[in-house]
């Protein structure tokens, strides 16, 4: 029986989409790549996922796990005609342990829905990607997503205690545990961030954090980018890591203000959005510390918000940044490099220079506190030759970041988009070791093949001799 018929027999026609219109929708994620889809299926249980995996394996069709499809690296886009296993219907909160501060949730649960439904218990899920209204916990696990509040609390991997995984063999296993330091190799740690290449996550045990008793959000304007970046370095070096430390340059602030009117100053070169959380005294102490560092670095304006409505407004500005860009130009292309925090000023300078030289429109919004840049180029793909120009500029920006001791991606992942840039960061022995991790989970390479590692990464045989 053809694969589609077998899938329909398993899930019913309504949960197997293969109409050309559906296939067009699922051919892309939020990045710039697209690929051929055989069908998109919507299982509701781990057992159904496992059955789908076994069918795909039997038919030799590659599997692509998918959440909301908001990924920016092409992780949820097939390369060869593939079966999309979309987990958005597995969106339950299975159980909450308030004392242990954990919850078992389905991978299709929307990130923000989790924190919203925990609010009355005074708990939240810390990773807060800007896409949190749309992206799924499973997708966050897939990419090891970050967000503004990951500066102090760590990215998704620090908040995932265990996951139920359907492997390439169609087995259902649990990696990790609700107890600390499970004996044996920590498979959980490599599954998080593996972009769907090690299996399909069908249930997640998340760690929950207490809502902070007090918080202050500071919006600081600077007349030069350098002053803003220097303030970031000084704050970190002063020995206090705020909950969040975000930066936007003037073009980005202008776009955001036109889009959501968050009250950001548009007459400055850059704004810094800092958040301080904790006990009342520590929030007061750290707020005044940040204010004084900002003053000594020539801050043009400082606004401190302590009530939740005003704080929410300031955050709305930051979280709408990508949306705001979409209002400006039909397309955007962005990278996600990380540089050592002390090299921020220098690398930003190079990025502006590169943008100018290629004549592309640049906007910057980024996680300044951990050196995670998002140089964003707005463009119109219909303009002939434009995408090539944008890409060339973006490529140079990546190289500048890496030359400064940085790396390719801080939170969006490698996917297809950055795969072939991996040799800029890792040598062949490093890539071979990573390919061994993948092969331990998926020796047949049926799970999201062609992602993360360039082809030919497994270049040594078992004994270490070159293949």
């Amino acid at each position: 029986m053809p694969l589609i018929d077998e899938l329909v027999a398993l899930l019913g026609p309504e949960r197997v989409r293969h109409h050309p219109l559906d296939l067009a929708v699922f051919a892309k994620d939020a990045g710039v790549t697209s690929g051929p889809v055989v069908a998109a299926v919507f299982p509701e249980t781990a057992a159904e996922v496992a059955a789908c995996v076994k069918l795909a394996v039997t038919h030799g069709v590659p599997i692509v796990p998918r959440g909301a499809g908001t990924g920016l690296a092409g992780g949820a886009v097939p390369i060869d005609p593939g079966l999309l296993i979309v987990v958005t219907r597995m969106n339950q909160i299975h159980e909450i342990d308030e004392i242990g501060r954990t919850a078992w949730v389905g991978p299709g649960l929307i990130n923000l829905d989790l924190s919203t439904s925990l609010a009355s218990r005074g708990l939240h899920f810390a990773p807060d990607p800007s896409s949190q209204r749309a992206s799924t916990i499973g997708g966050n696990v897939g990419t090891n997503a970050g967000g503004p509040h990951c500066l102090a609390d760590g990215t998704t991997v620090a908040h995932i205690l265990a996951a139920e995984l359907v492997t390439a063999d169609g087995d259902i296993v649990i990696v990790g545990s609700d107890a600390p330091d499970l004996p044996g190799l920590d498979l959980r740690a490599v599954v998080v961030g593996s972009e769907g290449t090690l299996g399909i996550v069908t249930k997640v045990l998340v760690r929950l954090m207490q809502n902070p008793p007090n918080a202050a959000t500071l919006l600081i304007g600077f007349s030069t980018i350098q002053d803003a970046a220097a303030t970031v370095s000084r704050i970190i070096a002063s020995g206090s890591i705020p909950a969040a430390l975000e930066m936007m340059d003037r073009p980005m602030v202008e776009a955001v203000e036109a889009f959501v009117q968050a009250g950001y100053p548009t007459d400055v070169a850059a704004v810094l959005l800092a958040e301080v959380t904790g006990t009342g005294q520590s929030v007061a102490d750290t707020t005044s510390l940040i204010e004084s560092i900002a003053h000594s670095n020539n801050a043009a304006s400082i606004r401190v918000a302590t009530d939740s409505a005003e704080r929410a407004l300031l955050w709305k500005g930051r979280k709408s940044a990508f949306g705001a860009v979409s209002q400006k130009a039909p397309d955007y292309y962005l990278h996600d490099t990380v540089v050592p925090r002390t090299r921020l000023v220098e690398v930003l300078g190079q990025i502006y220079e590169i943008g100018e030289r290629h004549g592309v429109e640049m906007l910057n919004v980024f996680h300044a506190g951990d050196g995670n840049l998002h140089p964003l180029v707005a463009f119109d793909a219909n303009e002939p030759g434009m995408f090539e120009r944008v890409r060339a500029a973006a490529d140079e920006m990546v190289r500048a970041s890496i030359e400064a001791g940085g790396t390719l991606s801080g939170e969006h992942g490698i996917g297809i988009e950055k795969r072939d840039l991996m040799p800029l960061v890792f040598n062949e022995a490093d890539l071979d070791a990573q390919a061994r991790i993948r092969d331990a989970f998926d020796p047949q390479r049926i799970m999201n093949p062609g992602k993360v590692l360039p082809s030919g990464s497994r270049c040594f045989d078992a004994s270490g001799a070159r293949l």
Binding site: D97, I99, G100, N144, C150, V157, A158, V173, I174, A179, P180, D181, L182, P183, G184, L185, D186, L187, A189, V190, G193, Q210, P212, S233, I236, A237, G239, G278, T279, G280, Q281, S282, V338, P340, D370, N372, G405, T407, S409, G410, E411, H412, I414, V425, N427, A429, D430, L431, D432, A433, Q434, I437, D439, A440, F441, P443, V452, F460, S463, G464
Partner: protein, 374 residues
């Protein structure tokens, strides 16, 4: 034991001269670079000779006591490789001890948050074991602070994973995988650690009910309950700390210190879901340990006995596993003969076995240390 000439040759070619340790009759070699370590491993793999990795040797019983053909020491890889102070990261050789590392960091207002109870322990040993210090409740486990690792693999290559950056999703997470791998994948040559600024002040307050204190406080540094009482460890400015303490009706005890490491010949690490800690604590106390230290919110109880009947331990392990945890023998000094150090192996042994096989095809790297005899 006499090493085959191929292995001796590889060692000499790498500029190393092995010495024989009298008591174990084991040939030991102390590389100074990852490349030297890889060359020795390649030669040993070709001859199927087992290699045991050694830091300070303070925890050599973790995963069980075994003898190996070659001992590989990290003692000559103890230097700072890179320390961009303002980036709050440091790259060190795996042989650096915590009493070299921590005072140096503290002098610049920084900390690695590694466990410092035993000053001789090496960074490589702690990372290989994946052990965390008391600050885990607030700052997370050691694993989340290992940013980059350089590993000499069982197939004799030097590989680097991760990066010297505080945020990174570029490729598979080798550093987190290597953390806690007990040398099963290769020899850890160096690591980059994420550092944390030292707080203005850190104080200890005595409390009556540790579990209640954990419930009420907002992100304390630690809530520790040794056999001598219950304590919370608070961080911040002096004023902030006293506000936090008084919010739970506790007073700062300037004389209090965190409990020293447990020195009893038997040392068991109990690991349970944090919500089950109080139950686990009762189960441990029922077996009358000489000492114990329970970490609330984390779910770990370290307990020490000068002697413990075999059947008592077996029962304790059964009870703890029923709570969804494990009772790991970190040290038994020969007093718990025949006991598997780990207990029931995790459910993912098939994948773990393949990982071990791919990183150490000849099975020469610290063989037998992992659960399931890997």
């Amino acid at each position: 034991m006499n090493l085959p000439s191929s292995v001796m040759g590889a060692m000499r070619a790498a500029g190393l001269s092995p010495s024989i340790r009298g008591f174990s009759d084991e040939a030991t070699v102390a590389p100074t670079t990852a490349e030297q370590a890889a060359a020795v491993l390649a030669a040993a793999a070709a001859e199927n000779l087992s290699v045991g990795f050694r830091g300070a040797g303070t925890r050599h019983e973790v995963g069980g006591t075994r003898t190996y053909a070659i001992g590989m020491l990290s003692s000559r890889m103890a230097e700072v490789i890179d320390w961009p102070v303002e980036d709050l990261t440091i790259v060190v050789g795996s042989g650096m001890t915590v009493d070299q590392l921590e005072p140096m960091l503290n002098a610049k207002g920084q900390t690695s948050l590694l466990p410092t109870g035993d000053p001789h322990r090496t960074v490589g040993g702690i990372v290989a074991e994946g052990e965390s210090g008391y600050g885990r409740l607030k700052h997370g486990p050691t694993r989340d602070r290992v940013l980059e690792v350089t590993l000499a693999t069982g197939y004799g290559k030097v590989v680097r994973g991760g990066g010297r950056l505080v945020k990174n999703v570029t490729g598979y997470d080798l550093p987190r995988l290597v953390t806690g791998s007990l040398g099963s994948l290769g020899f850890i040559a160096s690591v980059c650690l994420k550092l944390w600024p030292l707080p203005q002040q850190r104080s200890i307050a005595r409390v009556d009910d540790a579990a209640a204190a954990y419930e009420q406080l907002y992100r304390p540094f630690a809530v520790v309950e040794p056999d001598t009482g219950s304590y919370v460890v608070l961080e911040g400015s002096g004023e902030d700390i006293s506000v936090q303490a008084s919010s739970i009706g506790a007073r700062i005890d300037d004389g209090a210190v965190l409990p020293p490491v447990i020195g009893e010949p038997i040392l068991i690490s109990i690991r349970v879901p944090p919500a089950r800690l109080s139950e686990a604590r009762r189960l441990v106390i029922d077996r009358q340990p000489d000492r114990f230290i329970a970490q609330h919110g984390v779910g770990i109880i370290d307990a020490g006995w000068s002697k413990l009947a075999l059947n008592q331990f077996v029962e304790l392990r059964k009870d703890i596993e029923r709570l969804g945890g494990s009772a790991v023998v970190l040290r038994s000094s020969g007093l718990l003969p025949g006991v598997d150090p780990w207990g029931t192996a995790p459910p993912t042994m098939a994948i773990q076995r393949r990982l071990k096989q791919l990183f150490d095809p000849s099975g020469i790297c610290n063989p037998g240390k992992l659960p399931g005899g890997l």
